[in-house]
């Protein structure tokens, strides 16, 4: 037998001890009775109480103590569990776009999955799956989220808590950095035990598909973009610092293509609405990336299209508008030539968001998770106890009966208390 809230048993024990102490030490008002000749009894202050423990006192104490025990036990919610395995497992399988080879993924799942294990698949959301579906797992185009995976695993663990003493978490994933966000450690912390990681091969980076067509020169921004890798042929993203040509516009009309117009702040050829003066509002945010640096703001892009990036004061920093089946994205952010901002990691994440496909779909980031993140995900120590996943809202089937018994005992206590004691008259 286990208890959902064993703390109530302690409180119940304390209450029973208190009742016992009161029965032993409390002063009690003597029983009252009629006596026609009461006028001959001296009229003194009622300071004396009856002494000794009568049988009715013992019954009263038992009724009170048992009522308290029943109430405490009801709130502690006893659970009688059937026989269960020593260790159960929850296998979490990554089916996001990060997976390179579906066959390899299925092999890995088959190698770890045993009869009775729970299976959870995830991309941007997690879903419980039957173990028999392991061979039919498919890969989606969505970005993976280990936060969703951990949440789903904890939820499934709650349904398996009564079948095993301990639960082991097995993660089958390429484990890329893009799958981890700020909430992932919190979600991982909810699983109070170590995990086993089975890594599969990750898909290659899309960085090489960026096509950069820039004027020659000493340009920090272009240098930063070139670090991501350039492949002119077959590119889906084209970046232009100068005003796009007609050919560029025609190119952008194809499905899946993005023409990024990213002029310099001193470019007078661009037909955008210029601000009175170039300022540095302090920072810009796009797609979850925030860069705090003296970036230059020369244009006012309000109302020019769908906003894909904003300055910290809320003004649009980049907008995009449709062009045929593709889109053209105007980026009004420039970097001071003397600034090292383009070299920072957050700027790299910003450019990833600004070079993302049309409609705001995030670009694929093939960077693997750092060793620190991986070790924090795997954890250490013992396996998680199954009791830790007992749902807070679970009810014991005994609770109602125990409360009914407590009510009956309280009624008995009331009847005993009303029964006159002492002399028969």
């Amino acid at each position: 037998m286990t208890w959902i809230a064993p703390g109530y048993l302690i409180w119940g024990s304390v209450a029973v001890l208190a009742i016992a102490a009161l029965h032993l030490f409390a002063r009690r008002r003597p029983p009252s009775q009629e006596l026609p000749t009461a006028r001959f009894v001296p009229d003194r202050a009622l300071r004396i109480t009856s002494r000794g423990i009568a049988p009715s006192d013992v019954l009263l104490f038992l009724a009170r103590a048992l009522a308290v025990v029943a109430i405490a036990t009801a709130f502690a919610s006893p659970l009688v569990r059937r026989a269960r395995a020593r260790v159960g497992r929850v296998v979490v399988v990554d089916r996001s776009r990060a997976v390179a080879n579906i066959a390899e993924l299925r092999d890995s799942v088959r190698s770890v999955l045993r009869e009775g294990d729970a299976l959870v698949t995830f991309d941007s959301a997690a879903h419980a799956a039957a173990a028999a579906d392991a061979d039919s797992i498919g890969v989606s185009d969505a970005r993976g989220s280990l936060t969703a995976a951990m949440t789903g695993a904890s939820r499934v663990a709650g349904t398996r808590a009564d079948r095993a003493d301990s639960l082991e978490l097995v993660i089958v994933s390429p484990l890329l950095a893009e799958e981890i966000d700020e909430a992932t450690p919190v979600a991982r912390h909810a699983w109070s035990g170590r995990a086993r990681l089975v890594r599969v091969r990750a898909r290659g980076s899309d960085t090489a598909s960026y096509s950069l067509d820039v004027e020659p020169g000493d340009d920090a921004l272009l240098a930063s973009l070139r670090l991501r890798g350039v492949r002119a042929a077959g590119a889906s993203v084209r970046v232009r610092r100068a005003r796009p040509s007609v050919a560029d516009s025609v190119w952008a009309r194809e499905r899946g293509r993005v023409l990024v117009h990213w002029p310099r702040s001193d470019d007078r050829a661009t037909a955008w609405l210029r601000r009175d003066r170039v300022d540095t509002v302090g920072g810009v945010a796009a797609g979850g990336a925030v860069v705090v640096a003296p970036l230059l703001r020369a244009w006012n892009l309000a109302g020019a299209g769908r906003v894909t990036a904003r300055w910290v004061d809320g003004e649009p920093a980049a907008v995009e508008h449709d062009a045929g089946n593709g889109c053209i994205r105007d980026v009004g952010i420039d970097v001071d030539a003397a600034s090292d901002a383009p070299l920072r990691p957050e700027f790299r994440r910003l450019t990833t968001a600004l070079l993302a496909p049309c409609g705001g779909a995030s670009a694929f980031d093939a960077r693997p998770a750092t060793d620190t993140l991986v070790s924090s995900l795997v954890g250490a120590g013992r396996l998680a106890s199954a009791d830790a996943f007992t749902a807070p809202g679970r009810h014991s089937p005994w609770t109602a009966w125990l409360l009914a018994a407590a009510l009956a005992l309280l009624a008995l206590e009331w009847a005993l208390r009303r029964e006159p004691r002492g002399a028969s008259t």
């Binding site: 009629e34 009461a38 006028r39 009894v41 003194r44 004396i48 002492g422 002399a423 028969s424």
Partner: protein
Amino acid sequence: MAGSSYGALLDAVRGVRWPARRRVAGAVTGAHQSRARGTTAEFSEFRAYRQGDDPRRLDWKLLARSDRAYVRLATERAVLPTTIIVDASSSMAFPHRTHDKWRLARELAVALAAVAHASGDPVGVIVAGMEGGLSQLAPRSRRGVVAEIARVLDRVTPRGTAPIAQAISVARTARIAILSDLLGDADAMLRAATIHLAAGGEVHVAHVIAEAELRPGGGSHLVRDPESVGEERFLGEETRAVYVERFGSWRRELARGWRAAGAAYSEVVTDEAASRIVRRLATPQAATG
């Protein structure tokens, strides 16, 4: 039928006589000695003839032998109408579970009525209580009056206060028997009884006391008078002796007062058989209790 519950008691008191404590003034012939001297066959004494005596009462033979005129006197007998006053205040419903005081008062009332009725005396009852009222059955000597009294008493449940003094004033009979615990206005009762006694009547008082009042149960209790609301007193080991002493002193004072007034006062306790109590009350020595 009341007779069925009182049958054994009535059998036990059959043959008991309840003579008047002094000569009675009644004119109707009965069982008690009358104050009047008549011409019945029951010779009493001779008295010298006085002017105005009926010459027919002269003892002519004695006059012839002694040459002195004597009148022959004989004892007259008269009835003694009796009223039994029963206290039906709430203090008589004690002990709470058995109502022993009220049971004893009822039995004594029925038994005394039977004894008086057996002597040919008219007998009636006044039940004082029931929220301060009086319920009266006028004195009668006809058959069935005892059963009638028993039925009246069986219908009563003691409650409230009992105006015993008023009942004494209302009773018009020469003999009054009071069955009460005297816990009401004892002084008013005594005053009314004294007036009745001064008028030539006789008063019998049976002071009904419960055994539990004489010797309250052990342990500690809060006790309250059913006729006074609210006040509770503590009766424990320390106060029990004082209670017994005070109660005894009050009873002695009460007995002295009633006897000094000329009433026949007796204490009757609930654990004593009613037939024995009746025999004791009916004897002339009852006045000394």
